[in-house]
Symmetry: C2
Subunit: 416 residues, 2 copies
């Protein structure tokens, strides 16, 4: 049992949180210490307690390419990255680089993430070794890669992963067709005929205008309608980026209860554009937030990401994406895990230091988090009822070992 | 003497830096320790050494209003802020709140700033007490404020400040007409006739469209041409924001060698827009970077600001505002102080920890700084040859005293 005493919550009230096992047993203003004599007590009187962040779209292992190639638009950048991947990606690389990514995510208050890459079993292993929740997705492409002969083999790998992580409390498996410009019609059909409606699907969609035009000429209709045609648009579909959607597409996404994942920093960095997420939220679409991979961001900091989300939308309207809404999309687990700061929910709790210079003064905790805080204020991270990070240090991970192994791999690529 | 040994520089080379007095004596790859037996040695083999940042437009004391009022456009926000200021601004408040701002700036790698507010003598005092370089400017308005009877009195205050800080090595004084919508024609004339061409002038210009329209109907021409008409546009003029300039205005600014200060985060937060700074730089305009005040940002972090500057410009073009250029505008002291990481220059040196998770791998130091680093990596800050901040702690400032005093003032306003 863990008792977090006297924290401030996002509404500005004092609150105590009692955690039993992996769940929140009580949230109230007066949890008496006597009620939980065996509990580990955390004095949080100078802390803000929030529910953990869910990084809903990333490619954790791509941390190995952080800063290798910047200042390019999406297609030019992808061409460079594909070559690097062919040369350097293997199981060992994916394990260690994803593990470094997991350390970065936890240290920024993230308690779960959705990933799309290769050797995704290693991504799950790294996440679970660090303690994070994870949704993996083996990247499915219609052409041969150094890691996979074809779409069919990728599908088989995904089914093997599904079997392996069946009923796992912290890991889930999704089908991950990379995009409509890298997957052919017959493979979309194959996917559609092979999976059932309880299966999760994640895909890059309408990320930039070049992609949309490619899809239009290849399929004769806008990307969202292509997914609809192949029966791949439902409440278990997760659409990353969605920068260039028509109003009809937004309406369809809402009707099908599919989820949109917003990636504001990557969308700027690769010159993709600004997604109209406020419009989507207003129309009832479920919106999550993600950092994308480190090769196009170049970090995995959800506090920075939610700030970018809020600030960018103000270019359209100063009020709609307010501090609370920006925090809310960053905490949206997209239905994968029942995480929240309330009784009976899974216990992913992040404590943020209010003694930091940038936390003074403090009129409104949500405003502090959205517009002033940074990851150096993240003090404690509890995931699934377990303390993973405390006093700004990892409790149980050999951080030096992870850094050492990533540096060894990066040196071959040219890291200083 | 200080010897910084074996740091990485922004170009990816190992370098040692010998500081004598307030200047850099030597920058080379092999400064032998024997040459400087009395020097304080800093082993920087796991550090990036950069020249300090100059926060070219801020209102340090407004830190007291951080997070009090968000999610509004400029004019609505200003109306709220003016009321708060009337009630809470005095000398004591300006001293302590500016001092907290100075602590935040140093901890983010800033070594100098330009300020515009009231009771600017206290801003200078707080900056010099912490150790920062500062350019102050008593806000000049054509209407009465609780702090100043009229424009004339503001002018007199500025002349007094000029006399007080005459030849000061770290503090300079500017004339600070607030904007063309708060200053009347006769006062612009008065200013123009009173100052000489060596005097510095800072002003908010073309921040949003409402302002531009107000100026057009009040003066009959666009803002930059108004300054030109009154003889207030020259190489000592500093123009904050400049979000809505015509091409003719940009050309005129370039011809007069005036300086533009870019404030990307504040311009987003107040729904002002995106400034075309790349176009300005391409046309030869000198561009500096600033955070604006904490009431509209809501922090003073120049690493975050330069990242926003780079990412936002990529919405127009992915390549032009590359990592190095973004860092360069953040380090632009606008001619006020001769700071740089080279021999004979003023010694403002910032060391950034390369053992941070987000610094791994490291292919390109400028990319790391622009796209991945955050202020938790700032390890050491040297200003004017003096170590102000070391191992992420202030060497010589009573930080608790500053926090205590700001919290006391903020409590009256409603801080939690």
């Amino acid at each position: 049992m863990i008792l977090i005493k006297n924290a401030l919550n996002l509404d500005g009230f004092r609150t105590s949180i009692l955690i039993e096992g992996n769940k929140i047993l009580k949230v109230q203003s007066d949890v008496a210490q006597e009620l939980s004599p065996q509990a580990t007590i955390i004095d949080a009187s100078n802390m803000l307690a929030i529910s953990g962040f869910f990084n809903a779209h990333t490619h954790a292992a791509m941390t190995i390419f952080r800063g290798y190639q910047d200042d390019l638009a999406l297609q030019d950048w992808l061409n460079k990255i594909f070559k690097l991947e062919a040369a350097y990606v293997d199981e060992t690389m994916v394990y260690w680089c994803s593990k470094l990514a997991c350390l970065e995510m936890v240290s920024c208050g993230t308690t779960g993430f959705m990933d799309m890459y290769f050797f995704e079993d290693q991504v799950a292993k790294s996440a679970l070794d660090v303690g994070l929740r994870v949704v993996i997705g083996e990247g499915l492409l219609s052409f041969q890669t150094p890691f996979c002969a074809d779409f069919k083999e990728g599908l088989k790998k995904t089914f093997d992963l599904k079997e392996k992580y069946k009923d796992h409390p912290k890991a889930k498996v999704s089908f991950a067709p990379h995009s409509l410009y890298t997957v052919e019609k017959n493979d979309l059909e194959l996917l559609s005929n092979t999976i059932d409606k309880n299966d999760f699907v994640q895909i890059h969609l309408a990320e930039n205008l070049t992609e949309v035009n490619t899809v239009l000429s290849k399929f004769g209709q806008p990307p969202t309608f292509v997914l609809e045609e192949f029966g791949l648009l439902n409440s278990n579909t997760y659409l990353a980026h969605c920068v260039h959607l028509t109003d009809d597409e937004i309406e369809l996404i809402q009707k099908r209860n599919a989820h949109v994942i917003h990636n504001p920093q990557s969308n700027m960095k690769l010159s993709s554009g600004i997604s109209s997420v406020c419009k989507m939220i207003q129309k009832g679409v479920d919106v999550c937030l993600g950092t994308d991979g480190c090769a196009s961001n170049n970090n995995l900091d959800m506090i920075e990401e939610l700030r970018s989300a809020a600030l960018l939308q103000k270019l359209f309207n100063p009020s709609y994406m307010n501090a609370k809404l920006a925090v809310r999309i960053a905490q949206n687990f997209g239905g994968f895990f029942d995480v929240a700061l309330s009784e009976g929910k899974l216990a992913d709790v992040v404590l943020i230091d209010l003694d930091a210079i940038e936390a003074i003064p403090l009129y409104n905790p949500a405003s502090f988090l959205a517009y002033a805080a940074n990851s150096k204020s993240v003090d404690t991270v509890i995931i699934d009822g377990k303390i993973i990070y405390k006093n700004k240090e990892f409790v149980d991970v050999d951080v030096q070992e992870v850094k050492f192994n990533v540096k060894k791999i990066a040196k071959k690529i040219g890291s200083l």
